[in-house]
Amino acid sequence: MELLRAVSLDVAVPGRHLLRGLNLNVSAGQCWALLGANGSGKTTLLHTLAGLLPPAGGSLWLQGAPLSRLPRGHIARLLGLLPQDSSDSFPATVLETALIGRHPHLGRWHNETEEDVEKARRALAQVELTALESRSCHTLSGGERRRLALATLLTQEPRLLLLDEPTNHLDLSHQMAALQHLRALADGDHRAVLMALHDVNLAARYCDHVLMLYGDGHWQAGPAAELLDETSLSRLYGHPMMCIAAPDGRRAFLPR
């Protein structure tokens, strides 16, 4: 089932075209990696796909409806974004923070129910933050904050999860756990995931599709197995890369 479709989408920041004529089709069950060098437009593209920025050209369709015309609350029930950074100006506990993910599902006059709290707790358990539930966010480490942001997105339960570098600040085991869980959401729960990643090998391991942004307007999208090779990655990062075979048969990419 198609969730998000981009039709000849242009993305630009003042003075620069980042992406021209992107055609993209993200369906339930798919897990996309968004790859590109610094400043190639990954974050701007994610914000555009989330409907937070107007595209410079082209159109976006969410479950067949034009994204620009959908009410924000409706979008937030289908599509969620994990921002690159999150900051808290005012004190809040870990559970309260996860619970804000329920906002789009609640009416203006409704409060969170026991069921909502239960969902937030399950998401916290998923990222191993249960023990910190009543702590203030200010006392969390960088990695714990990142996992809390992920738990908030999981509590939101969107059909399409857009994530801006979800593995930032995470140690190795939490990186694997987070990506494994996202992969499982796509496989078992018919959700779709599109995430900006800096680690090509994580992308190759967990994602079935890649979207590569070259930063000059050019892009490539398609199955990861076909697109990930030495040539395209060397061009993408502006640094020669090589591909080696790991003992278990998987491919690994290393900078030369």
Partner: protein
């Protein structure tokens, strides 16, 4: 703690009201307040109904308006140091009110001038911050702070050229003063109206406090919500300033006190701010007219004197946890 907060604050409001009604040059014992309020035309009931009650209600309304406006602006600007006056509303009001005083006009002219100045300043800051298209909190904050600084310079100028006999009244106005027995119906009605209007948006305020991006991706229409906050906070502040001049401290500190005690959920914070701000100002005003009676102090002096130690105590307690 949280569930008990509103009843506790209601109790505090009633106690503050009772203290305010009972104290003064004609002391009214607690047991006689009730009979005097509903009773016949005795001395006590005249004092209570015509002098103390209207003034206390005005104090409650002003304190509540300022505290709610402060809570809103802290979210809008995402800056814990924001207070209702940071964007120049009170400065604009003060310049217009002082001009009216200098012209020898009194009463309604001063209040009307303050209202006019406050609304003018609100539109000026909005126009300047908005004209370039993008309307970020930082841009709004900088515009507001600079406009406020310009009003500050004009206020100093007016004080410098003002004749001696006007100076005292002008200074009292600037520090915040309820002694001319201001109007209470309009500010109280506006406070109630503001709370009713804003309460349905309380959860969205919680999200906006966590940043535009988080709020936007969770379904908040950020642009519209910002406009709502800016204009409602400005109007609440304008109403407070028109009634009592620029009473300081309440709008900055009351929301923070409540955040320290009960967290940052605006469904609780908005009504609690109104009650705590109102109670604090009723107490402060009662002290203002009794500590060195028969002389009266500007209430703004006392809000900071009561509020600062209370706030520091809460801050220390929080740090120990």
């Amino acid at each position: 703690m949280r569930l008990a907060l509103i009843p506790l604050l209601l109790l505090l409001t009633l106690v503050s009201l009772a203290i305010g009604l009972g104290s003064g040059s004609v002391a009214v014992p607690l047991t006689e307040i009730g009979p005097a309020l509903w009773g016949s035309d005795t001395l006590h009931s005249t004092v209570l109904l015509e002098l103390r009650l209207p003034r206390l209600l005005a104090a409650f309304a002003v304190g509540g308006l300022l505290a709610v406006a402060g809570a809103l602006l802290q979210v809008l600007l995402r800056n814990p140091l924001a207070d209702p006056y940071i964007l120049g509303i009170s400065g604009g009001a003060a310049v217009a009110a002082l001009l009216a005083m200098l012209a020898g006009l009194g009463g309604w002219w001063v209040s009307g001038g303050a209202l006019f100045g406050a609304l003018g300043s609100m539109l000026l800051v909005f126009g300047l911050a908005h004209s370039a298209g993008s309307w970020t909190p930082t841009r709004l904050l900088l515009t507001g702070v600079v406009v406020a600084a310009a009003w500050g310079a004009l206020i100093s100028f007016l004080l410098a050229v003002a004749p001696e006999h006007n100076l005292r009244g002008m200074l009292f106005w600037l520090m915040g003063d309820l002694s001319h027995g201001g109007e209470w119906r309009a500010p109280l009605a506006l406070l109630a109206l503001g709370l009713l209007l804003l309460f349905p948006f309380a959860r969205e305020l919680n999200l906006l406090a966590r940043g535009e991006l988080t709020a936007g991706s969770l379904g908040v229409h950020v642009g519209r919500l910002r406009l709502l906050i800016y204009f409602s906070a400005s109007l609440l502040t304008a109403a407070a300033v028109t009634t009592a001049g620029s009473v300081g401290f309440v709008g900055l500190v009351v929301p923070h006190m409540l955040r320290l005690v009960a967290g940052a959920d605006h469904r609780l914070l908005l009504p609690a701010s109104a009650l705590l701000g109102g109670s604090l100002l009723m107490l402060a005003d009662t002290l203002a007219r009794t500590v060195i009676a028969p002389q009266q102090l500007p209430v703004g002096v006392l809000t900071a004197l009561i509020g600062a130690p209370l706030f520091l105590y809460l801050l220390q307690r929080e740090a120990k946890r």
